[in-house]
């Protein structure tokens, strides 16, 4: 995978996930009626991620980063379609577990791509530059979404984010096709 393309891809998915993130908390707070449930929802997310990392790590070397990123993109695109339908706290727990799995895929792949690409001597500069662009994309997305919510319902934010994830997934598929 081309490094520039990778930054572009990470920017896109970063945008999509930061779009939903602040509003996602709103959803959990609405569904969970106590801080304990709020804690559990996030705890499950982190715990599932922890359990998945060893497996993902192993597969990353075998099947490649790009495939894993594809799994993440399409997984998120589909998963987000279920958020507007969540109406009970166990729905959110299930979504959190799946989010934890996909989140682990993304985190691991992000790091493996970087590790494979960066030159040891100038790793700081390169990773710094990588973070600049992905952070800018995330910031723009959050701010823009804030305005969007004024016009749309919260549910539509999840749908839009899902479309962005689908689009990022498409980009990956295209790469595959041109490579093949």
């Amino acid at each position: 995978m081309n490094y520039k393309r990778f930054i572009y891809y990470q920017g896109t998915v970063g945008m999509a996930s930061s779009m939903i993130f602040p509003f996602y908390i709103l959803l959990i707070r609405n569904v969970g009626d106590s801080y304990a449930q709020f804690g559990w929802a996030y705890g499950l997310f982190a715990l599932t991620a922890a359990l998945c990392y060893p497996l993902i790590g192993k597969y990353a070397d075998r099947i490649g980063d790009k495939t894993l990123l594809g799994v993440y993109s399409w997984g998120m695109a589909i998963l987000l379609l279920f958020f507007p339908l969540a109406s009970e706290v166990w729905h959110v727990y299930i979504l959190q577990v799946l989010m934890g799995m996909l989140g682990a895929v993304q985190k691991n792949s992000e790091k493996t791509v970087l590790a494979r690409y960066v030159t040891k001597e100038i790793a700081g500069t390169q990773i710094g530059r990588y973070h600049v662009w992905t952070s800018v994309a995330a910031a723009l997305a959050v701010i823009a979404t804030g305005y969007l919510v004024d016009f749309l319902t919260i549910a539509s934010i999840f749908y839009i984010a899902s479309l962005v994830f689908a689009w990022s997934g498409l980009q990956l598929l295209k790469l595959e096709n041109t490579a093949a």
């Binding site: 609405n30 801080y35 399409w74 969540a86 689908a166």
Partner: protein
């Protein structure tokens, strides 16, 4: 080829999700209660003009949006929300427009709280005639639920409203008073936000004065006679409140009462005029916490309450400070349980027979966790279309701790419906701002003019621009 399949699959799931989501939105009311995504909230900004409020209504007309109106949102029957509607949050619309010292009136925007008004009028030595026992609510909210309070001399809250201005569904601003647009005036008071947005209100005031606290305790049988002789027939008695025991040792037998009487000697008044700012929340909160747990806790809560009441006998307090009760100690956070309120009205003459009947219902349901019962007096007042005071009544406010799982909710609903049946049998009624446990039939019986209320709604807001879950639940 693979790409096409993935895209097709994705689009299918996308369409399915949108379809399910939109059918959920249009589903019946019972399902709407469980919808958890927040509805859009249009916050009214501080300093917003009535022109801008008007624009919200006109825009809603254009886009076909449904509006619900919110103040402090302490009503528990969905009176301030409507799924997928736009909630107009009135809290920041809270200016005290004018205090007229000579006429003894105050004009305020509807988002102002009773506390805001007290702060504005206290320097003039003025006081509200009627307000809710707790001062945290907004004026617009209290008027919309036709609230009542501790005062026993000035009638209902509705009697103290000189006039108000209403922004209706067409975006017109109407002047309402007992002489102008009378029909709409009495529909809006106790109208649960279904007729338009109350913009501002002019309220009658009275003089602030010094009260002496008088407390007593007695068995419940003696209470109606005590109330008539010592409170109602004593012109000095101005405010009154009582509690009946929920402790196992004296369950629905013992009562204590607190009456505020004009102090004979008003000279120390200036020393008491300053508004109370701090309340010791930790102590009552602790005892209430104990009483949630078990019977021993309830006994100690009751003992603490009676001991405290005896101790305040003879205390001097200003009228404004009596009306500044705090509810912070009732704040309660728990994942599996919640606390709900119920309020029943029973004619003064029926009280003696009513209490044993109510007691029987509660005792037959040992899982029903009753934490507190406060009793106040409400004089006959049939101004509002949905009026609960068909004659002189005692109101009983019940604080109930209940689980949030389906089974517990069903249990509470059964007990509540039984309690309401008992109340109706004694010529009573119940208060509407609480959770929608009562049946439609019970509503009809408690409020004989229910049909008229819904007719007025159709007449004054034919497009149903203003909606809430209360309406959805009880509509014809």
């Amino acid at each position: 080829m693979k790409t096409v399949w993935i895209i097709l699959l994705y689009l299918c799931v996308f369409g399915l999700s949108v379809y399910v989501y939109s059918t959920q939105l249009n589903g019946p009311a019972a399902e709407l209660h469980q919808r958890l995504l927040p509805v859009e909230i249009k916050m009214v900004k501080a300093g917003m003009s009535e022109g801008e409020l008007k624009q919200i209504v006109l825009n809603a007309e254009k886009t076909g949006d449904v509006l619900s109106i919110a103040g402090m949102q302490h009503s528990q029957g969905g009176q301030t929300v409507y799924p997928n509607g736009v909630m107009v949050d009135m809290k920041p619309y809270n200016q005290v427009i004018e205090v007229n010292e000579d006429e003894k009136t105050v004009t305020v925007q509807s988002g102002a709280t009773w506390s805001d008004i007290q702060e504005a009028i206290n320097p003039y030595g003025l006081s509200l005639k009627v307000s809710q026992s707790q001062n945290i609510f907004t004026v617009g909210g209290s008027l919309s639920v036709n609230a009542h309070g501790l005062d026993i001399r000035n009638g209902g809250l509705t009697d103290t409203v000189l006039s108000m201005r209403l922004l209706n569904a067409e975006g017109d601003i109407l002047q309402l008073s007992p002489s102008e647009n009378k029909e709409l005036f009495y529909a809006v008071l106790g109208g649960y936000g279904l007729f338009g947005i109350i913009l501002d209100v002019t309220l009658e005031l009275t003089d602030d004065e010094l009260y002496e606290t008088q407390t007593a305790s007695m068995p419940y049988r003696d209470y109606p006679a005590y109330f008539k002789r010592q409170v109602q027939d004593n012109p000095d008695a101005k405010m009154h409140l009582a509690r009946i025991s929920i402790a196992p040792e004296s369950f629905m037998e013992e009562m204590y009462t607190i009456t505020y009487k004009t102090a004979e000697d008003q000279t120390p008044f200036p020393d008491y005029q300053k508004l109370k700012t701090e309340n010791l929340v930790a102590v009552p909160k602790f005892f209430l916490g104990l009483s949630r747990i078990n019977d021993a806790g309830k006994d100690s809560f009751w003992n603490a309450q009676t001991a405290y009441t005896q101790q305040i006998d003879g205390n001097l307090v200003s009228r404004n400070n009596v009306m500044r009760s705090d509810s912070e100690f009732m704040e309660y956070d728990n994942s599996r349980k919640t606390e709900i309120l119920q309020e029943y009205f029973v004619p003064v003459d029926q009280f003696e027979h009513y209490i044993p009947a109510l007691k029987a219902v509660v005792e037959a349901n040992p899982d029903f966790n009753l934490l507190n019962v406060t009793i106040r007096y409400v004089g006959k007042n049939e101004d509002a279309v949905l009026s609960y005071a068909k004659e002189d009544m005692f109101s009983l406010v019940l604080l109930i701790n209940q689980g949030t799982d389906t089974e517990s909710v069903q249990q509470t609903q059964d007990v509540v419906q039984e309690m309401i049946d008992v109340t109706l049998k004694h010529g009573g009624s119940y208060y509407l701002p609480y959770f929608g446990y009562p049946t439609k039939g019970q509503l009809q019986e408690a409020y004989p003019r229910t049909g008229e209320f819904f007719e007025l709604k159709d007449r004054f807001d034919p497009d149903h621009r203003f909606m809430n879950l209360f309406y959805e639940e009880y509509r014809p």
